[in-house]
């Protein structure tokens, strides 16, 4: 696979994971993944992780496409990643359990 394709897939994966973490710090998505009803309270770290993941996606996009094209590609990639997270939460929320375990006081 070409390096540019890998960069694109990587940027999408980082955006997806970033949004998934941001979503999991909210009550409804947290309940959807099925790791208990009470939402973890210390969520700031996970939000930071989420934002870092989105930013790494931006860095990868800029490296792939340069400034002008990168700044056009990234927001659109984010739109699709956010939609993908919403769809996952609707139809396959259990897929996000692995990511949910990163929340500091998540319990089984």
């Amino acid at each position: 696979m070409e390096i540019t394709t890998l960069q694109l897939l990587g940027a999408f994966a980082l955006s997806y994971v970033g949004f998934a973490w941001l979503a999991l710090t909210q009550l409804r998505p947290w309940r959807a993944v099925g790791l208990g009803r009470r939402r973890p309270t210390r969520t700031r770290l996970v939000r930071v992780l989420g934002v870092v993941s989105l930013s790494l996606g931006l860095a990868l996009t800029l490296a792939r496409d340069g400034l002008a094209f990168g700044l056009l590609v990234w927001p659109l990639l984010l739109a699709i990643a956010a939609t993908a997270v919403a769809i996952t939460l609707t139809w396959r929320p259990q897929w996000l359990r692995g990511l949910a375990r990163f929340l500091p006081d998540a319990t089984e």
């Binding site: 979503a23 909210q26 496409d65 002008a68 094209f69 590609v73 659109l76 739109a79 939609t83």
Partner: protein, 519 residues
């Protein structure tokens, strides 16, 4: 009592949405399709699917060919050079006396491609995006774009829980809830796109929308002259009148080589000839610009008779911003990832508008039924005709293109106009259908869409032999891509039809709506 900000914004959002939503849908739908104008053109013009291998081309020979067709009265020639998405040159010729030609040329064989006899995407679907094919239609489009910006801002203000609902999509709930979820999702996640695409669309036509600004800068000139002067000063647009003295063409190939030295060796997108047979004729060369966002043409202009340089590339700072925004909007560069992302984001826009209407309908159905108000019926017909009706009309346009034989005409109506008539007949018909049969229209139109979409794929196979197995195994992506998207459209339409049928059956059970009369 004074209404709160949210109340007044709700009023604005609702009324602007209901009144202009159907036009906005036309603009968004046609804009989304315009991302693939060249591919739709290849699908609708089979003779242009496989052109000449790209390589060295003599511009002198191309120009001679065009003048031969245009005759001694030739006043203007524009040639878009072949490139991977359009493997033949598009040649447009205007002659004194009004004769016009718009043809495709195989540049390596130097032979005219048979007249495709269709307006296809480049002359019908794409112009509809910015003019609606109405006289002065771009004013209406501009109004819609301003309304769109207002809708986006007011929508953000009235959104009750933007952050909390960011990832919310509940397809199992009542249709009103589901459509609001989808409306919020499709607008919020793609908000930067919706905003920038609307704003840049307005910026493209700044000279039309703000004529008085140019007049204010050059108060001594008429508006038309002021506009010419503005573009001359800011981006080196060059014009001069014909002298009346006959002239001939110097070597265009030599001029092109000189032009290219301004472009880092990048090739040519187009060249134009004004008054090529006049002593004061001039030739303009435009840069391909596949590797940058900005649609700066980097024009170089020569005197066509002598080859003397008349104008170097030039771009003032204000227009450089305008060129960047219009380049961003028009996507003339070579970037397939971005092309698909724009297409998807455009579809998000279409979903946003359609679900906005559906939410409006679903939240008012009960109340309007109780109060005996006619609003629901009017808006439901409007929605159905402008959403499913427009999609059906577009597909009927493709089907007509494959069904009507070359050389077809009814009376004075050529094949090209017959396709357009089919488009409008189906579109107008869908409004009539939707108002006449409010209960069954959605499902019936969705099934009609599926039929047309699948039919178009089969007809493409039957009339050109380019079926999907062939276009995928020996890749011919333009045709394969259009066929695959048609199949997706058909499948989605069938699934949506099922969902709507289930939802309206639910409404009938709850006594909100009379049962559809079964024949």
């Amino acid at each position: 009592m004074k209404p709160t900000l949210r109340q007044s914004m709700t009023l604005l959002h609702t009324w602007a949405g209901v009144l202009l939503g159907s036009l906005l849908f036309v603009i968004f739908w046609m804009g989304t399709l315009s991302v693939f104008t060249d591919e739709i053109d290849r699908w609708m013009m089979p003779d242009t699917r496989r052109g000449s291998p790209l390589g060295v081309v003599s511009l002198d020979a191309v120009a001679a060919k065009a003048i031969e067709l245009g005759g001694p009265q030739t006043r203007f020639i524009s040639v878009s050079m072949p490139e991977p998405r359009t493997p033949v040159a598009r040649v447009r010729i205007q002659s004194d006396g009004g004769a016009r030609h718009d043809r495709y040329l195989n540049v390596s064989a130097l032979s005219w491609v048979p007249d495709p006899e269709t307006a296809a995407a480049s002359r019908f679907l794409y112009p509809m995006h910015y003019s609606l094919h109405l006289p002065q239609g771009y004013w209406l489009v501009g109004l819609c774009a301003m309304a769109m910006l207002a809708l986006l801002v007011s929508g953000v203000i009235i959104h009750r829980s933007l952050i909390a609902d960011f990832f919310t999509f509940r397809p199992g709930r009542r249709l009103a809830r589901t459509s609001l979820d989808l409306h919020n999702l499709s607008s919020v996640v793609a908000l930067p796109f919706h905003f920038m695409i609307t704003l840049s669309g307005l910026v493209i036509f700044f000279a039309l929308y703000y004529p008085m600004v140019q007049h204010a800068v050059y108060p001594e000139l008429s508006i038309e002259e002021a506009r010419n002067e503005l573009f001359k000063e800011s981006e080196g647009r060059y014009t001069r009148e014909a002298s009346g003295e006959p002239g001939s063409l110097a070597s265009l190939d030599a001029m092109y080589e000189r032009a290219r030295s301004y472009w880092d060796g990048e090739p040519l997108r187009y060249f134009t000839l004004n008054n090529p047979l006049d002593a004061a004729g001039y030739a303009t060369f435009g840069r391909l610009g596949n590797d940058h966002v900005s649609a700066k043409g980097d024009r170089v202009v020569f005197s066509s008779g002598t080859g003397e340089l008349l104008q170097e590339p030039k771009l003032g700072p204000a227009l450089a911003v305008q060129r960047f925004l219009s380049g961003m909007h028009q996507l003339r560069f070579d970037h397939w990832v971005l092309r698909w992302l724009y297409f998807i984001a455009g579809l998000f826009g279409c979903v946003m508008i359609a679900t906005g209407y559906i939410y409006w309908l679903e939240t008012r159905r009960k109340r309007h039924a109780a109060d005996g108000l006619p609003g629901i019926r009017i808006v439901e017909g409007l929605t159905c005709g402008s959403v499913t009706g427009l999609i059906a009309a577009t597909l009927a346009f493709l089907v007509a293109n494959r069904l009507l034989p070359m050389g077809f005409s009814i009376g004075s109506l050529s094949r090209l106009y017959s396709e357009i008539v089919v488009f409008y007949l189906v579109w107008v018909g869908s409004f009539v259908h939707a108002w006449a049969r409010p209960t069954g229209a959605w499902v019936e139109q969705l099934r009609f869409i599926a039929l047309l979409a699948f039919g178009a794929v089969v007809l493409n196979w039957a009339t050109t032999g380019d079926h999907l197995l062939k276009t995928l195994s020996d890749p011919h992506w333009p045709v394969a891509g259009v066929d695959l998207l048609l199949l997706c459209t058909g499948v989605l339409a069938l699934r949506a039809g099922k969902r709507v049928a289930r939802s309206s059956a639910g409404r009938r059970r709850s006594g909100l709506e009379p049962a559809a009369r079964q024949p």
